[in-house]
Structures are given as C-alpha cells and as structure tokens.
C-alpha cells in the first residue's frame, strides 16, 4: 500500500486528479492532515481541519458502472470499519453519506475523467475522526468520532482498513 502523506493540501482529490492526468498509479493514496479547500459534490465546501482523516485514491481503470457501484459500496466499507472498531451503529444514507446519531460523519466523492472511455478515476473520502468542535453552522448536522466516543482514534489504522476494504470490493465487482 503506497501512501503519500501531506501536511496540508488544498484538496486531496485535486492533487490525485492532477497526478492521474500524468500517470495512473492504481491504488496510490494521497492523504492530508488538513485540507484548505476540501469539497464534496458540486464543489460544496467540506470542513477539513487538523485531526480529521482526508484521503483520495487513484483507482485502476474500470468500467463506469463498476465505479458507481464502488462509490456506493465505499459508504458500507466506512460504516463497517466504524462498527467493527468502535461498536458504533452508523447509518448509511444512500447513496453514500454515513451518519452517526443523525449527523454526518463521512463524505465520499468519486471524480472521473471520461472521453471515449474512462481515462482516470479518483475516490476521495473525508472522515471526521479527531475533530473536537464544528463551526456553529455545522454543529447540528456534523459530528466526529472523537465527539461520539470521547477519545482519540488512530487515523492511520482506519485509513488502511478502508483502503483494504475498497480493494477487496473492487476485485469482486470488476474484471
């Protein structure tokens, strides 16, 4: 598992897309301790302070249908990781939001570049792990593992489990 760790990035997805434009290195992971311009669908801002887990994976070239399935399965993998490690009961709000106690804890965004075929794909995951506090406008809709558990969690361990899970899932749905 190759992980490039950055202290800070504007967005791990943007960085992964830029790398994938030059060369596809399947399963190369880019993680950042902090994102200054993290985003979700339609470029909606994703609160990404230090403490959270933010990473993007350059995916192997796949069929568009498999990528769609993988994106949905990513929510199940994150939920399973949280349940197995912390005995939490996360709720998956389809297609792929993960909620804890009715508040969002994880966001997932896949970005593809498509010509006559899929040229490149990256999947980005933002998981609110060790975030102490959210700004006022988010505190009713977002939560973190630290807030829910009252203790710090191991970001690296969670990261590796999620990547392994995604790898396994893609192998089962794709040729």
């Amino acid at each position: 598992m190759r992980i490039l760790s950055f202290k800070e990035l504007p967005s791990t997805n943007e960085k992964a897309k830029a790398l994938a434009r030059k060369k596809i290195v399947p399963w190369l992971v880019l993680s950042a301790k902090e994102q200054t311009a993290g985003y979700g669908k339609k470029k909606v801002f994703w609160f990404s302070p230090k403490g959270g887990l933010y990473f993007s994976i350059i995916l192997p070239k796949s069929q568009i249908e498999d990528l769609q399935t993988l994106t949905i399965l990513a929510a199940f993998i994150v939920a399973k990781t949280l349940k197995d490690n912390f005995s939490l009961e996360p709720l998956i709000k389809l297609p792929n939001d993960v909620l804890l106690n009715g508040k969002k804890i994880c966001g997932i965004l896949t970005e593809n570049v498509i010509g006559e075929e899929v040229k490149s794909s990256v999947i980005g995951i933002g998981l609110n792990t060790n975030i102490d506090k959210f700004p006022k406008e988010l505190e009713n809709t977002a939560t973190s593992l630290k807030i829910e558990l009252g203790k710090k969690v191991d970001n690296e361990k969670i990261l590796k489990e999620i990547i392994q899970g995604l790898k396994k899932q893609l192998a089962t749905i794709s040729d």
Partner: protein, 124 residues
C-alpha cells in the same frame, strides 16, 4: 486617371492584357490581376491546418444531471479539453473532448437530467 488619397495623387491606368487578366499601373508600377490570383487564393485555403471534422456525438456515460457546461456552440475544442460535468449519484464525471473538433450543437442545459446514452453534444 488620377486618384487623390489624402494628400497624395496616384496616376492609375487600367487595361486588359488580352489573356483574361487586368493590368493596373500605379505611378508606373505594374500589377496584374486575373486567374493567377484566383489560383493563389485557392492554394492558400488548402494550406489551413487540418482538423478531423468527422461527425461525433458525446453521449452520457451514465444517468445524471448536467451540472456545468464549459463550451459554447460554434467553439473549437482541443483534445482533452473539459466539455461538461455530469453529476451522477456521488460521482462527478468530467467529460472531455477526444479530438480537436468544433461544437456543432449542445443538446442539454445546465441542471438538466439525462439518461445513460442520451446525446449531450454533437461535434464536427
């Protein structure tokens, strides 16, 4: 015949050469126009950069919503240029041009929902 342009006077003489060409003398300098000029123009036109103008449609790879269109009808696009963003579930699909081409027709609008395989744009 004399023609005055601004403050300068030009002595101009126009005559036919008898070979379908026209000779114009300006202050003693000779300019010949006719079929040769036509040929020169056609040569110039054929030396324009070649483009692949074969008709091509860009279709939706999956069902979704057209969230952003980056081109306009009539615009020339280059290979790998961003054409539009198609949002589907939690996937943002950046649709790019595969060749140098021209956008002949845009069949969708921003925020329009499309089905898989719907024609989004026609290129030529």
């Amino acid at each position: 015949m004399k023609i005055k342009i601004k403050e300068k006077v030009y002595d101009i003489e126009i005559s036919e050469t008898g070979e379908g060409k026209v000779k114009i003398m300006v202050n003693g300098k000779e300019f010949i126009f006719g079929e040769e000029e036509k040929e020169k123009i056609s040569v110039a036109q054929t030396t324009l950069p070649k483009r692949d103008f074969s008709k091509k449609e860009i279709r939706a790879p999956v069902a979704g919503t057209v969230s952003k269109i980056f081109v306009k009808e009539g615009e020339f696009t280059k290979k790998n240029q961003k054409i539009l963003i198609l949002s589907a579930m939690k996937m943002e699909n950046e649709i790019i041009s595969e060749n140098d081409s021209r956008v002949k027709e845009i069949r969708v609008k921003e925020n329009q929902q499309v089905y898989a395989d719907d024609i989004l744009l026609v290129l030529e």
